[in-house]
Symmetry: C2
Subunit: 157 residues, 2 copies
Amino acid sequence: MRKAASCATADMDKAEDRRCVEAEPTQARRFSQARTARSTAILEDYAELIADLTREHGEARTTDIARRLGVTLPTANKSLARLKREGLVTARPYRGVFLTEAGMAMAERVRARHRLVVDVLEALGVPTDAAETDAEGIEHYISEVTLKAFKRFLCRE
Amino acid sequence: MRKAASCATADMDKAEDRRCVEAEPTQARRFSQARTARSTAILEDYAELIADLTREHGEARTTDIARRLGVTLPTANKSLARLKREGLVTARPYRGVFLTEAGMAMAERVRARHRLVVDVLEALGVPTDAAETDAEGIEHYISEVTLKAFKRFLCRE
DNA sequence: ACATGAAGTTAGCTTAGGCTAACTTAAATG
DNA sequence: CATTTAAGTTAGCCTAAGCTAACTTCATGT
């Protein structure tokens, strides 16, 4: 076998040894969480957008969803199929799209989180447009713990 | 055609009209940017990790990369093929992986950004572990403008 | 009332990132 | 030095999200 490139080589001191040995599972867990978040990011975007459109227009149409997301109609359609499968929306063919209870809950949670992220970014001096743009990517990766910290930070501003 | 659910209905005032009409391209652009960032996120993770491993062990082995990322060896292998294709790493079969100039530049940029994001989160009161975990997802969506704002914020702390 | 054009759907292709199974290569050790 | 075991590779499968092309449904305006 190839020369041990593993952390635990004899000439390393105990501290570094320990640090290295624990780096793997910890980091793997973090990446894994990011992957999970990535896979729900799209669901969250759709839920939030459907709630917005419903509020603005009284209904959420697939065309409007596609336009706002900047994707084609078939792409939106396919993604909506996933949301249906996961019980977040209901839709009958050629009719609009409606959030289920679960979908509304997700939308509400996401909306609040989005607002919070934008507010924090602006509080940190990020201009509005950049804050909105970056929030669109960032928001899906904010844990509950971080959310709470953000709230506290804004309060004592 | 179905009743116009578009923004520009007669009974809307000019302000809302304008807001709505501009919402589509703006929001579409934001989502599109998030999608772009998402597609480079993995490249950035690999580049950063390869740099770390090289610094720690003098080489970056596919097994270590896979273990740290929490994916299987074939998955890491396939992703590394993409990094090769995009000119970020070089690798000869059964030998380690090495960053190209471009790869090192990316790794350095990503490392600095990661540090900055963690520091900002901690400054906002997020505990270290959550800060590290969330940063792993967040970092890929931070624009240059936001990065600058973060730096300014940390300075005047 | 029907023609037309927009909205929606379906089929099928691509890329990406996961996985397992099976195989090959390399290196450490008896 | 031969064997065993770890590392790396290849093949092939799956799901997701993007696309275009082609088709169907719907609703509006003449």
